[in-house]
Symmetry: D2
């Protein structure tokens, strides 16, 4: 049986039941079908005062091309803790569509250590990646529009550093010249697209603690330099942060699904580790710590460089209590 | 009170109750929160044998820049029919994000003739536009990939006609040169993005009767011409239709919401009338006709040119029974 | 024998002897080898007061792809007039390198009706085309430089209308994007190259009466529009006309060569008829009229549209006395 | 008095007289006006058997931005040797138009150590640079044409390494995308222009010993790589070398002018030292050695790195007899 066969042989538990296992009431859920839900930001805020559970971090040395099993270790460890009666949740990154259609395949675990509904998670899931790309590209459009209408920014069209993004493996979009076709299409400019998982918006969303914090961070984005003094120009100077936040207000809500064995799984945020902290959203991990006694999560790679030099240190720096380490290779819990 | 104030003053009815009004059981719904749902394709197929209700088509003459009220007429007429006790549904196009952030504003009616939840509908809604853009851009990536790896198609890189799409008003992306930066990024090519509402995938989705028909139509897309004989090359020749269909399998399910007065409203598909048939998906209209005695829908503009020359004729050509005409300006029901 | 064999079988007369036939002293010549010379502008100015000879214009109807013999008619007629003892000169356009390496071949007549040295004339000749391209491209570089250093012109980078030129048939250069590679290379811009014979500088050189007039006309070139009011911006506003005139000071001097039968032939200036007046330089024709009793020249095509609508009317408008018409097809002198 | 005033105050000697000083008869000259001439290749071949004079090489350490006087040292040394009765010639590079219109100014010496006619030399001179650019760009056009007509080369359009050239300081042309505008204009390609002095053709012309050698070297130019095996493709594979040689047949002939004091000066070839050997043409230096007892020339910069590592070693490698060194700073003859 392949991963998909295994996943399809299981009847998922209703997402309300999964949420109930860690004390999240049905009223705190925004359901996407029967087996996926987002948790409302209001309920999350209300849970802020609670004590934290313990965080277990699964990491890995510099990986082989085949991967070395951080996700399956995380899922398995979570299911094991559940089986011996611990109130447990796991936290994972949500996968990008790009590698999913590329050679790498999906990213929701494998074998009997999967999160489900695997197909949904690997495709559009709850639309977070699309919302991030939309916010990213709205900013790009607003920038070019500001140049087009020559708003009073002094923004140097040759020094715009903001790129577009799309959730696709598409080498053709890495480097391009836009605004061709004459004056109605703007001023020609060299630009490009990054895959959404490697975008700054993805990193920002995963670090934001609430909508206000998200909006503040979005406003602080550097979009380029001005003509006279090469001063950095920020997204807030073209007043982009409000509309961007509107596009991201649902994406900020953590997604709740389950493992094949019914352990609650927060699958939320998916920044690549090469440009960002490489772990799931802090809002999801923090929520999990308020709801479960044990939270298993995974982070990045390169832990053989020492935790300080790898992406796992971001988990600590972000203000979470010190995790217990779990190395997936070998797994020395 | 503006439109948003009016919309927010109403407590929406649970979407299960709305569905029940026209005989759609809760088991046929995939809920997106409390007030939005998609209807499963299985249930739609099961309803195929039923008799059709009557179709009322609201159209308009060539519009003024201010618009002339097709949507508000459709909503109002639907609510009126409901009020006098008729089992009624309305069918509308879902709005594009692009104009929503542009000057034109959203497209979910106005005043007391709105569909709700207006903000959701105007933003990501159930993700249909994003799924369409993803399928569109996956095809583009597969085409460039086929050229890159010189698959045995003879496809002429200068005669690729397939463009990318994004749900954004972005003049900078209309015309561009892609694949710059040397060999690793492919062969330079002139291309561009269309707004998603004006993409061929949008048109195809709105005409498809089921997943098989959708996949067949996707495979028939012309992507360019070959080198030797300028023969048309199709999406099926690079085997793109399967993955594209996977990306569109949820988008094909009609979305159900409600008017402010609780009339069931199918808001599904949003092709622009300048390049396509300019009305909502046929699968939604056909479903509505199976569920309601009166279905009010709207179509395009330019009916002063005669129905045959305007987008409304597409409704007829698509195999629907002849609608009764309703002109929104003046509204001569 | 082909054209080249015929040309090589003849020993050209020294260019001083050719000049002497029409009263131009050796001191008025700048020799390029033994068989080509330019006439100094000082001597030309000194001859201004003389009476004009008679101008005979050879023209043609809309041509077939094979051409229909304007040049050979002109050469033959000139040689015939010489043979019967008339003091005669002919005036021809100088050929472009582009078509010479293309399918069309050279443009110095054919058979026994050639001007020589044919190979030199068909290649670089006295460098006029290169000088024109250099002046053209210097202006382009000065424009981009003015934008780069943001000189106080308000010139809109998207509305620069000045194109570059090269004396080559090169389809790749018709439309391009320049200034790629980041800030040090300027602001990206859509542009292109015209073949030198179709450049505005070529047209200007062929109409200029002396160096002052040339410089004035160069200064009047429209290079684009400004940002605020779409006002036309001229070459003189970036002070380009002086350096351009320096580059063209030799090119303005008419070239003197000979026919195979030793008739003096001014071969000077070569504007294409599709964008310009399509005949050789006025300075050459006017000089010829001062030196010879009969001057045979040719002009453009499309005379079947009536002289007023074709390029030959430019010869008249330019202030020359009314020519006698000579139709090359059939040749009805 | 500035350089130009000094130059204009002198009446140049007829170029025939200058040539006679070093035994070149008038019949071996192709005159360009009164004061410039090229020496025929036939006469050069005939002089091959003669004994060589002595070569004195002026070089310099890594230069300051102001330059450090190689050219003025060379001119002054040559004039000094003439003054004491030695049969002397000097050899210099011919200047590029580009820096001439830039900040650097011309390159024909200065003060009382100039070569004349300075203005002509600094502008088009005898057309060598234009001919080199034309041959360069003809090859580019032939390459794109071969791709356009899909000649049987397997040439990979993304791996064409041949660039265009123009004798102009123009940052906008350094990096561009060509062949835009659809199929009639070819396949889009990333390319660029080098200044003519930095082109491979310039280097080749300066190393070629005669027309046959020139044509052989032109044929050996690598234009790109093929699709299947990344095999290098050469100019001779598209049969470009014949037409290129035709365009260069006059440019290969050394130019003869004079210093202000009437010393014969060969000013021929002008490769930049950053990409090539950085000294004038070998054909000119070799000719000078056959005609004069003392030949003073200059080479490149960076001699403080040791002659082996700087451009002066090229003079030796090219088969010339070992020169006596002359350092211009300080000048320690």
């Amino acid at each position: 049986m392949n991963d998909l066969d295994i996943a399809r042989a299981i009847t998922p538990q209703p997402i309300d039941d999964i949420a109930e296992k860690i004390g999240i009431p049905a009223s705190a859920l925004v359901r996407y079908g029967e087996d996926k839900a987002k948790v409302t930001l209001d309920w999350i805020e209300g849970a802020n005062g609670r004590e934290n559970g313990r965080l277990i971090l699964v990491t890995a040395i510099t990986p082989t091309p085949a991967g070395e099993g951080k996700t399956t270790t995380t899922v398995g460890l979570g299911d094991g803790l559940s089986r011996i009666g611990k109130r447990t949740a796991i936290c994972l990154r949500e996968p990008s569509l790009g590698p999913c259609f590329g050679m790498k395949g999906g990213a929701a675990g494998g074998g009997y250590a999967q999160v489900i509904p695997m197909e949904d998670i690997n495709l559009h899931f709850t639309g977070d990646f699309h919302a991030i790309a939309a916010a990213n590209n709205l900013l790009a459009a607003l920038i070019d529009n500001a140049v087009y209408w020559r708003k009073d920014l002094g923004l140097d069209n040759r020094r715009i550093s903001w790129r577009r993004s799309v959730d696709m493996n598409d080498r053709s979009l890495r480097q391009l010249v836009t605004s061709l076709g004459g004056v109605p299409n703007g001023a020609p400019r060299e630009g490009g697209f990054d895959i959404t998982a490697a975008s700054e918006i993805m990193a920002i969303l995963c670090l934001a603690s609430d909508l206000n914090d998200l909006q503040r961070r979005l406003g602080n984005i550097i979009i380029g330099q001005d003509m006279e003094q090469r001063r950095f120009v920020h997204a807030r100077e073209i007043n982009a942060q409000g509309a961007m936040t509107a596009l991201l207000k649902d994406a900020l809500k953590p997604n709740l699904v389950q493992t094949l064995e019914g352990t609650p799984a927060f699958v939320h945020g998916g920044p690549f580790a090469n440009i960002a902290h490489g772990c799931n959203s802090l809002i999801a991990t923090k929520l999990a710590l308020k709801c479960a006694d044990f939270v298993v999560t995974e982070a990045g790679f390169g832990a053989d460089l020492g935790p300080k030099n790898s992406s796992i240190s971001n988990v600590v720096r972000a203000g979470l209590n010190p995790p217990r380490w779990c190395w997936s290779q070998p797994c020395g819990l």
